[in-house]
Amino acid sequence: MERKAFMIDTSRCIACRGCQVACKQWNKLSAESAVNSGSYENPPQLTSHLYNKIEFVETDENGEFKWLFLNKRCLHCSEAGCMKVCPSVGALYRTHDGLVGFNKEKCIGCNYCVNGCPFDIPRYDAQNKISKCHGCFDRVENGLQPACVKACPTGTLMFGDRNELITKAKGTGKEIYGETALNGLGVMYLLDNKPQDYNLAVNPTIPTSIFLWKDVIKPLGILGFWGSVGVAMLHYVTVGPKQLEEDVEEKGGNHE
């Protein structure tokens, strides 16, 4: 069995948001109070209680108006910045199916994964523990589709063997977003428009400082270099000299 992945065909999405609610229903994530600030898109971004959401984008090029919908969520990168930067073993981990799972019990609340992620995905809950899409690994391991995929009425969301999804997607002649980026994303898109139109990075990368941490400093830490010096250094390489809390707030990381 090969690595599993999501393929999201945006051309089929009607933004019914069955995915958004199916996720909440299965994972028992509570709702948040929201306000309409001039858009259908609510909540405006992912939160610790919202693992996937539909982004609504209006474009108007050469008089051709389009309303685009994109299911946004953790992209389950192969080269996962969040995992690289995470100092707590097992808090973020690779599931059997190749997705990026998390274990709240092991999360130490450092927030570093927020900065390690090129897609602005990880969020922290009221207990300051990591929250994000985990691919419903509990369902997947029991032979079910992830809740969002099962709910999707139009076949926008697909889940299965990654290579098979890619082969099938290539048959459509459309470009696949994420086939090779970061060694291959676990969530790939078939896009109607350019990635920028969906606010997707054209070439997603992990900040180089993360590699420094992962390959140089983190091993030292494991060898006993775990202390104030190490933490300060980690802070510096991941978020720079800024205050961490401010940064997280700016990114809407903690909406409790």
């Binding site: 089929r12 009607i14 933004a15 019914c16 948001r17 069955g18 958004q20 609610v21 909440k24 229903q25 509570s30 709702a31 948040e32 109070s33 929201a34 306000v35 309409n36 600030s37 001039g38 858009s39 259908y40 609510n42 909540p43 209006e58 108007d60 108006f65 389009k66 309303w67 685009l68 919908f69 009425p153 139009t154 076949g155």
Partner: protein, 813 residues
């Protein structure tokens, strides 16, 4: 729906107009996309660009309330370009029929048909008739060339709807009109199918019924009725609005669409005589000639079976309407606000938000002596007395709130839009101290009946002779536990005595196999003839779950049960030619083979039309063929464009008749100020329409109270174009006030290019749109768009015109 949801995948062209299926019936898009994958074209025609439009191959905007003009142009295009399906029309429609030479049309009479009485605002329909021979059989011209035949008159009438004229009314660019017409018109050949998916965007107009008539005419011209992937498909809004309509929780009909008795139909015989359609055509099945069996069986199900033919089986126990009495929605609340209604039930409905001109509804509720509301959640109707601008101390209405079970807390069937009656099982007991609706009904039945038994009162027989046998009765005569299966069986019907039919003996107490076995001698009962066959000696057909699809066109004949008699596609005998060969052999619905029909349950089992001794294919109509020309409509046998009651232009560009000439005008008929309307009035210069969103349902009583859904669409909004926003100094996200002649609502502005200004009659017309799913009982969400909508109804159904009216919009100060 004449067809059903899965069947959408069989279409070659899908027109979504008057509905927004992607948002309001999302699962339908499973089949829309499946059709598109196979090459079908999706056309979206809507005043605004919706989630449906986002998936369309072609989007065409139109000004709200101009659908007849838009579709009239299509009829003109189809006829001018000879795109119609002649053989189909000759076989299955009245296109060949010759019309009374005295019949005149709006082109000759400035927007009116012959026979209009301006004082009565009503037509004398005597000229809207067919020429008939001495035996009463309509005269026809099979070549359809006679200038008085239906096709030629249709051609003449709609020749006035050129693309230029239509565009000037609808505001749709001419090239978009032509493109839509061309694509849709491509299906007028055997082997191609087009379907229409419509909903309240068509019905909620003063010309609502005629909107649908126009489309039905198009479907008949193109041969799209009866076939897979075709039909005229109303996408119904509530989970069981099809069933509640079939069981006729409506003033004018009894279960199974039998007319409510009238005061001058003083006996069962008179009822049958007056209400049974007649034909002298031996080739017409005229299925409604069975009405005597259906009304008699209904009476046998409703009343004590000890009543006999001498008692008219209890016919006199039914309430009767005065001649001409209209007890429909708008009239109901009009009487209520005038103090003529004392007691009121709002059972699973929230008229304080769903009723057009909701301020009038809310004021009307203050005039009641008592009200019973039955619901899962508090709502604006139940708590009207503490709503905005209400002073509870001055309101004398006593209100009872009875909490009931959610759908999965009870057992029973519901009928979807495709007429599938599907059985639901009870998963859990009703929450807390809430009860099943049927339990509450049983209690009310029993308690009222006991009062009449012990105290007497007005006409107690109507109550004491009602049959109510749905479970074991205690010593007090009360049923402790309503057996919902017993109700379902009564709806299907029983043999009340041993009866031999076609050589077979049916024993007393057996369930009737299907409505063809119902009798008018009192020997059978059936609460609703249309559901006869749903629960018979073979079991509960509605609970079936077989995955079989023998035709391959997605009929799933053994999944649940479908009325009538499990026929999955209505009028399916029009899906074949005179020899019983399907127009489309790839997607056959029925076909004649080896002396019998195969496939779906045929619409009457008679032989193909080319064989002797058969009956015509449209069995519910007395003439046996589909009506391109129909005298059944109140405002004309062909549709004609009239402006909405409130509109942004001074004159109807088509004629001197501005509005539908036969609608009941509440305001000018000595109505109340609350009913005032303002057409072509600078105080309310913008066209407005109302709609739903995916995330909420109806007035939002269930969905506003579902946190996951409220989170996604948290409050009232108004959508408008960047051009109008600029004119009014409004920016995206601003709080605005939208006002009409009836009320105002606050709403967050969503400024979007999905709304475009229209060019109509040389001027720019702006349109705005608002959802009607909010209400004040939910904190911080705003209130209903129906506070703005007018008191005016469709010319045939009196469905209120909430899809086209006039408003103003200002940024909130």
């Amino acid at each position: 729906m004449t067809n059903h949801w899965i069947d959408i995948r069989n279409a070659d062209v899908i027109l979504i107009m008057g509905s927004n299926a992607a948002e309001n019936h999302p699962i339908s898009f499973k089949y829309v996309l499946e059709a598109q994958e196979k090459g079908a074209k999706l056309l979206s025609v809507d005043p605004r660009f919706t989630r449906t439009s986002s998936k369309a191959d072609l989007y065409a905007p139109l000004r709200s309330g101009t659908d007849i003009a838009f579709l009239g142009g299509m009829i003109n295009y189809i006829i001018e370009n000879n795109l119609y399906h002649s053989e189909y029309m000759q076989l299955h429609t009245n296109a060949t029929f010759l019309i009374n030479p005295d019949f005149k049309m709006p082109g000759e009479l400035d927007g009116l048909f012959s026979g209009y009485d301006a004082d009565k605002r009503k037509y004398d329909k005597s000229t809207w008739s067919f020429q008939r021979d001495a035996n009463g059989i309509p005269l026809t011209d099979q070549s359809m060339q006679d200038p008085n035949c239906v096709l030629q008159l249709l051609k003449k009438h709609f020749s006035r709807y050129s693309v230029e004229v239509v565009s000037d009314i609808t505001g749709t660019p001419q090239e978009k009109l032509t493109e839509v017409y061309k694509i849709y018109g491509s299906t007028g050949v055997a082997g191609r199918a087009a379907t229409i998916m419509y909903a309240m965007g068509w019905t909620q107009h003063t010309v609502g019924t005629q909107n649908i008539r126009t489309m039905a005419i198009i479907q008949l011209l193109l041969g799209n009725i009866g076939i897979a992937g075709g039909g005229v498909n109303a996408l119904r809004g509530e989970s069981n609005v099809q069933g509640s309509t079939d069981h006729c929780l409506l003033f004018h009909i009894l279960p199974g669409y039998l007319p409510t008795p009238k005061a001058d139909w003083d006996s069962l015989a008179k009822y049958i005589e007056k209400s049974t359609p007649k034909t002298t055509d031996p080739d017409s099945a005229n299925w409604w000639s069975n009405r005597s069996k259906y009304i008699t069986s209904l009476l046998r199900a409703h009343f004590d079976t000890a009543l006999t033919a001498e008692d008219d089986f209890g016919y006199s126990l039914l309430p009767k309407l005065d001649t001409g009495q209209n007890a429909s929605w708008l009239m109901l609340f009009d009487r209520m606000i005038k103090g003529d209604i004392k007691g009121f039930f709002a059972w699973g409905q929230n008229p304080a938000c769903s009723g057009s001109n909701a301020n009038k509804v809310r004021k009307a509720l203050t005039q009641l002596d008592w009200m019973v509301t039955v619901n899962l959640f508090d709502n604006e109707t139940a708590s009207f007395w503490k709503g905005p601008d209400m002073n509870p101390a001055e309101i004398d209405t006593e209100v009872f709130f009875l909490p009931v079970a959610a759908s999965f807390e009870k057992e029973g069937s519901i009928t979807n839009s495709g007429r599938w009656a599907q059985w639901r099982y009870q998963a859990v007991a009703p929450l807390g101290n809430s009860r099943h609706d049927s339990v509450v009904m049983n209690e009310l039945y029993y308690r009222v009946a006991q009062l009449y038994k012990s105290e007497g009162g007005a006409f107690p027989e109507a109550i004491t002779k009602l049959s109510w046998n749905y479970g074991f009765k205690g010593i007090d005569g009360k049923i402790d536990h309503i057996d919902i299966h017993a109700v379902a069986k009564e709806i299907n019907g029983y043999f009340l005595e041993d009866k031999e039919i076609k050589g077979k003996l049916y024993k007393k107490g057996e369930l009737v196999p299907s409505f063809a076995f119902l009798q008018d001698d009192g020997s059978t009962s059936s609460g609703n003839w249309l559901y006869c066959n749903s629960y018979n000696e073979n079991g509960n057909m509605m609970a079936r779950r077989s995955q079989k699809d023998p035709t391959g066109v997605g009929l799933y004949p053994e999944w649940s049960w479908c009325w009538p008699v499990n026929r999955r596609i209505l009028y399916n005998r029009a899906s074949v030619d005179a020899n019983g060969v399907p127009w489309n052999k790839e997607r056959p619905v029925i076909w004649w083979a080896g002396g019998s029909w195969k496939g779906d349950v045929p619409d009457g089992g008679w032989k193909p039309l080319s064989q002797a001794g058969t009956k015509k294919s449209f069995i519910m109509l007395p003439d046996g063929v589909a009506a391109i020309f129909s005298a059944g409509m109140n405002e004309g046998p062909f549709p004609e464009h009239y402006e909405p009651l409130e509109c942004p232009i001074e004159k109807n560009p088509m004629s001197g008749t501005k509005n539908n000439p036969i609608i009941k005008l509440f305001f000018t008929d000595g109505g109340l100020e609350v009913d005032a309307f303002y057409s072509y009035d600078q105080r309310y210069p913008y066209v407005a329409t109302t709609y739903r969103v995916t995330e909420h349902w109806q007035t939002g009583v269930m969905t506003r109270n579902t946190p996951w859904l409220l989170e996604m669409q948290p409050s009232m909004f108004v959508e408008l174009s960047p051009e109008l926003a600029k004119d009014k100094g409004i920016t995206n996200g601003d709080m605005c006030v939208v006002s009409s002649g009836r009320g105002k609502v606050e709403a967050v502005a969503i400024v979007t290019k999905r709304f475009r200004p229209f060019k109509v009659q040389g001027t720019i017309i702006h349109q705005v749109g608002l959802p009607w799913c909010y209400g004040w009982t939910t904190p911080n969400v705003g209130d209903s768009a129906n506070l703005l909508t007018p008191t005016i109804g469709d010319g045939n159904t009196m469905i209120p015109e909430t899809k086209a009216f006039q408003v103003n919009i200002e940024k909130r100060g």
